[in-house]
């Protein structure tokens, strides 16, 4: 199943709830109007309806989960804007522009293997939920690394159910396996019939891409990040160098954020 971009809209919705799930990390929940379809890997630009003193532009967030028609965003405070978004009161009117971009293609495969670094976990619960329904026989695996136990997002029982395997890593060994996801996957890169998905910090994605290339895996879908001003293809901010120009750059917000790794000049 290759996702076709769904029609984006501008939604003004009150912040329905928030929940802390790790140091500096929360779920934000919204109740959208019925029948607004999102695909895993797509994202929204979030801002407040009242202009913000702290963050004038919207910020991009992956659609983190969709349950009972509600939207969930997994938000980690990393800078000025995200720190401020985490402090918003319930009921604050937010502007959600989306769903935007092209998400993960979900082709048939024996194994679906997701590698997540830090807040790169965000798109994978929703991806796994969809794959579970669409390909009930397939194995769904999550390899998820964090700096330390404090930052580690503990999955709920329901969320764990979405995966057949969850392997956890921390840089300092304070939870799960010590070391990086990429190191931890050492002997599994060459396994056949694996659909690869990645999301996380650039160095991690680069290391993972190198491993895949080394093992002649020629397809993997990584969700990338770049600064965005609009999120829907008009400002030309969100460029990612193209491995095979022209054009020299991909526009991440419309061609991505999910890109086949072969397309990107690392």
């Amino acid at each position: 199943m290759t996702p076709s971009p769904t029609a984006a809209g501008v939604f003004a919705l009150p912040l329905a709830s928030t929940a802390d799930i790790a140091a500096g990390t929360s779920w934000l929940r919204f109740r959208p109007p019925p029948d607004t379809a999102c695909e895993p890997g797509q994202f929204f630009m979030l801002s407040t309806v009242a202009p913000s003193p702290v963050a004038y532009l919207g910020r991009p967030f992956s659609i983190g989960d969709v349950r009972d028609g509600e939207w969930f965003f997994m938000l980690r405070a990393l800078g000025r804007g995200t720190a401020w978004l985490r402090t918003l009161e319930l009921g604050t009117m937010m502007r959600l522009v989306g769903p935007l971009g092209v998400g993960f293609a979900r082709d048939e495969s024996k194994v679906h293997r997701m590698i997540a670094g830090g807040i790169g976990l965000a798109p994978f619960l929703f991806l796994a939920r969809r794959l579970r329904t669409e390909q009930p026989e397939a194995a769904i695996e999550l390899y998820y690394g964090e700096r330390d136990a404090r930052s580690h997002i503990e999955l709920t029982a329901d969320e764990k159910e979405l995966f057949d395997t969850v392997e956890r890593f921390t840089d300092d060994g304070s939870l799960g396996i010590a070391g990086s996801v990429v190191d931890g996957l050492e002997n599994r890169w060459a396994e056949p019939e694996v659909a690869w998905y990645g999301c996380g910090p650039q160095p991690m994605l680069r290391a993972a891409a190198a491993k895949l290339e080394e093992h002649d895996v020629d397809s993997a879908q990584f969700a990338f990040e770049e600064r965005m001003a609009c999120g829907f293809g008009v400002c030309q901010a969100c460029i990612v160098p193209n491995r095979y120009p022209p054009p020299r750059y991909h526009l991440l917000c419309t061609e991505g954020p999910v890109l086949e790794i072969g397309k990107v000049a690392w």
């Binding site: 770049e226 609009c230 460029i239 990612v240 054009p247």
Partner: protein, 322 residues
Amino acid sequence: MSSARLTATCGPITFQNPVLAASGTFGYGSEFEHFFPVASLGGFVTKTLFVEPRDGNPAPRVAETSTGMINSIGLANVGWEAFVKEKVPDLKATVGAAKMLVNIAGNSPDEYRAIAARVEGDRERIGCAGIEVNVSCPNVKEGGTNIGCDRDQFQAAVRGVRQETSLPIFVKLSPNVTDVVPFAGCAMDEGAEGVSLINTLYGMQIDVEKRRPVLGTGSGGLSGPAILPVGVYWTYKVRAAFPDLPILGIGGIATWRDALQYLLAGAQAIQVGTAAFVNPLACVEIIAGLERYCSQRETTITELSGAAHREGRLAEPATWTG
């Protein structure tokens, strides 16, 4: 369809309402169709087009500032040929009753002339109502002096465009000069039908952790609500100096009140840029707000344009501040 109250006449061009999409901030139109019918706008200005395609600058290309942003996109564009072939068919359909202005630029006065000739040659096919000339470009041949900030080059660029086309021309002025007024005068003298103002201000942001400029190119152009008072000021000054020169007001407009400030200061119509990134519906809300204002007060955009001058309250804007 906007009400007749909103009709905005800018020299030879009549817009159904005074709210236009600014260059470089509305892509090629189709991107906004999800959000609202682009044909309901007064007008639509294309991203700046060169004869040859341009990749633009390296990332990062944008940074957020206090109620604004700086950008160094670098006028990335598909080039004239691809524009006409790949973009125009959809764009024409999208723009509909809104009037299309094709925004053009070049790296030297000769390049301005060349792109203007291309527009003239394709004018029927494109169906545009006029040309907006973006002079905020460095003259690469003359070592990067900005064409819009140098009177001679500015004049040469506008003259070249005028000679190649009979389409209405709006020259988009840079605020990065000591006085915008003589540039407006020069555009008028060279036969331009009007001016658009302002383009972005020079700006820079430094990453205090990395201790270097945020943008890949170091600096960029400042836009957004932060610059509204600067655009309103120059609109007022240009209108005072040349009461009959049509003005498209731009810079920091996010609400109908902002738009009205420009109209009262002297603009016949306005353009919205950065605000549409944050709120894609900004233009629609501005049109609705102006409609409400006009009907409640039984007035029209034409009557409002320049009304701040008619109060006769000030001789001359202060050069004293502080």
